[in-house]
């Protein structure tokens, strides 16, 4: 209810869904086996698809560049396994559309050693070099948005950055990937922070962690005191457990008390924020000149047998992954990401991509859709919306198709679709679902005019 709770600072409003993290948060990250055929879509990020640089029948080694960035808002792709390029063609995607990509037939029993590339030395490299290295390593926001990281880091010269925020909140229920990365890869995170501080010019970094991971915060704090890292101007801050605390705007509000302006960017309040797993990948890959070809995901939920955190090759077909972890017979609903913002699956033939933070399966009657009632004006959604929008009124306007009015008068486009309104609605009105549609309509209109 208030900005400050016993657990630590936070933002106003928000919700408290069950955490459901205990089952996987203690499980170390394990390497996932290689699928016989990998599907690497050329667009796994926001922006322009990558351009393939391999041809059919060509042999590739794990970690080898297979597609290069095509323009500024685009990143490279690397081979997730040693093998042979089966074909360049269309493949199913999460949107339900067929998208272009690269099929790789992996070599069974090969060593799957990753090749070293040209390292990006922290001291020798310029800011521009580091940005190019990040783009060349194919790094995007691993929290789920999959926005190219080098674009985010390219701060306008007239907007000095005073704080780099490393986002280790992970507020989505079930997901524990960032948790495990913070436990297992503190060195990579700190190395990543060094690169990020240099690129952004920020004088300090704050690692933000939710109060449900106090022991992680404590271990990072003590690790920072070690001689190897004591020169890093970074601190670890604990924020209250509340959803969507991990949203960039909410975390900045909690840590610094600053509000990113409506329609603005964190740079407008002198902040750049980067997900902690993304930071760890920068620290892990850049010193070796490697590219991102696998990521950590949580596979969990009541209907999964082998729950856990896995380092999984990007391009692993979901069907292969599910066979490996095993699903309960009563499985009824599966989705990629967490239960609050995770994407529904149109097909099990789609691959794991860079933006996939988890795979969750529910069984039986869990999360079954309930009948809709009329809005009774209870105000639960108004008290839940972290951006202080009026979801009730937006919902009524969405129902009558007044999309432009929603955008013009009620800040529809600020909505980042956290789903808190739908979560609390006792009338079971699909609020955020309608807002997604309305936003798409508004964007379409804008593109036309």
């Amino acid at each position: 209810m208030f900005g400050l709770s016993r657990q630590g600072p936070s933002f106003a409003h928000g919700i408290h869904p069950p955490q459901a993290k205990d089952e996987t948060s203690g499980l170390p990250i394990r390497q996932f086996p290689f699928a016989p055929v990998m599907l690497v879509p050329l667009q796994q990020h926001i922006g322009k698809p990558a351009r393939a640089v391999v041809r059919e029948g060509q042999e590739v080694e794990r970690g080898q560049l297979i597609a290069e960035a095509d323009g500024f808002v685009s990143v490279a792709m690397h081979a997730p396994a040693s093998g042979v390029i089966q074909k360049l063609g269309l493949m199913p995607s999460i949107s339900g559309k067929m998208v272009p990509g690269i099929y790789i037939k992996s070599f069974p029993g090969s060593s799957q050693e990753v090749n070293e590339g040209i390292p990006c030395e922290l001291d020798a490299a310029s800011v521009e070099d580091i940005l190019l290295a990040i783009q060349g390593a194919g790094i995007v926001g691993l929290g789920g948005a999959a926005f190219p990281t080098h674009v985010k880091l390219k701060v306008p010269a007239d907007k000095p950055i005073d704080t780099l925020i490393i986002n280790g909140v992970e507020c989505e229920p079930y997901l524990t990937t960032d948790h495990r990365v913070m436990v297992e890869q503190p060195d990579d995170i700190f190395t990543g922070i060094r690169y990020l501080l240099k690129v952004t010019g920020a004088p300090r970094a704050i690692i933000g962690i939710e109060a449900n991971k106090l022991e992680v915060a404590e271990s990072l704090r003590s690790a920072l005191l070690a001689p190897a890292y004591s020169d890093i101007p970074a601190s670890v801050e604990v924020v209250a457990v509340k959803y969507p605390q991990g949203a960039e705007k909410m975390l900045i509000r909690a840590l610094l008390g600053r509000e990113v302006p409506s329609g603005g960017l964190p740079a407008d309040v002198k902040v750049v924020s980067v997900n902690v797993a993304t930071t760890a990948e920068i620290g892990r890959l850049l010193p070796h000149g490697r590219g991102i070809q696998e990521r950590v995901i949580t596979i969990g939920g009541p209907a999964v047998s082998k729950k856990g955190n896995y380092r999984i090759p990007i391009g692993t077909p979901l069907r292969f992954a599910l066979d490996y972890v095993g699903l309960a017979d009563d499985v009824s609903r599966v989705f990629l990401g967490g239960p609050m913002m995770g994407q529904a699956l149109p097909s099990l033939d789609i691959p794991i991509t860079k933006g996939t933070s988890g795979f969750i399966a529910f069984g039986g009657d869990q999360a079954r859709a309930q009948p809709e009632f009329p809005c009774i004006h209870c105000g639960y959604c108004v008290d839940a919306c972290p951006l202080f929008l009026n979801p009730s009124q937006l919902g009524l306007l969405a129902k009558s198709g007044q999309h432009q009015r929603m955008a013009d008068e009620l800040h529809l486009m600020d909505c980042f679709e956290c789903g808190s309104c739908s979560y609390v609605c006792p009338a079971h009105i699909p609020l955020v679902q309608r807002f997604r549609g309305a936003k798409a309509m508004v964007r379409k209109q804008q593109a036309k005019s």
Partner: protein, 337 residues
Amino acid sequence: MNKRSRTLEIHTSPHIASGASVDVIMRNVVFALLPVAAFAVYSFGLAALLTVTVATASCVATEHLLCRLSNSPSTVRDWSVTITGLLYGLTLPPALPLWMVVCGGVIGVGMAKFLFGGLGYNAFNPALVARAFLQAAFPAAMTSWTPAFAADRFSSIPASTLTIPFAAPAYDGVSSATPLSLMKFDGQFAASGDLLLGLTNGSAGETCAVLILAGGLYLAARNMLNWRIPASILATVALLSEALHLVDPGLYPPATFMLFSGGLMLGAVFMATDMVASPITSAGCAVYGALIGVLVVVIRLWGGMPEGVMYAILLANAASPHIDALIQPRVFGTRRG
């Protein structure tokens, strides 16, 4: 996956929900009202039992039949019309002729709820509209009060209760005055202890402030009632009436009397908090409550009638959409003001 084929549901996020549900909220309001109704029967006997039962039944039946007539599924299972019926019954004089009770129920649910579009669309609290209709149509019957705790209240039914439709009701015994009418017409103020515990005359369910407050606390604790509404109403009434009492203690009653007499408690806790007819923001609810508080004091002390809670809430219901239009939360990242 395995050889077996499975059916998977495809939904967009979120994939979990808080578990709150409209019918659960409504049912809890009914639970919170049951002790109040029980006390009404305890203090007014069979008369109150019949009045509250017939009021509830007429409201539920009206909604059910209207849904059937309009070929839509019956909505009585969302429990909202049960609240309307109970509340409506509790605001009536206990020995009101039953045919009038039915008339009010049909008018309230039919006109104030169904015609507006049903649950979620009623601009006014249907229970109060029903009562307002009766107040206008049968002013004499609506101000004839049976005494509380009559010795024969469990053995005999008042003659007025069973009046034949359209005949003038006969009141056996002396019709007794309520604390508010004594205040208004005789300048007497009842003891606040009696008011708190419900030992006075009045409408069936309005007399016991303690039970009403307990129900309100239960709902507020479960976040099924916006506590800012009753808090704001009661604070406004207390401040305003105490100030007036200090000016002229003979003419104006003390705040304790104003708070615990008449329908204020029942209205503040259960009527004004009708989610549909009250503002959606908490700040709006505070303003709405203050408006009701001012209107109650003005009508009670300077109006022609002893009680003003009903009209105060109905007027504030009308203002509610305008309060919503004026008071919206400041969107994150926009400038204040």
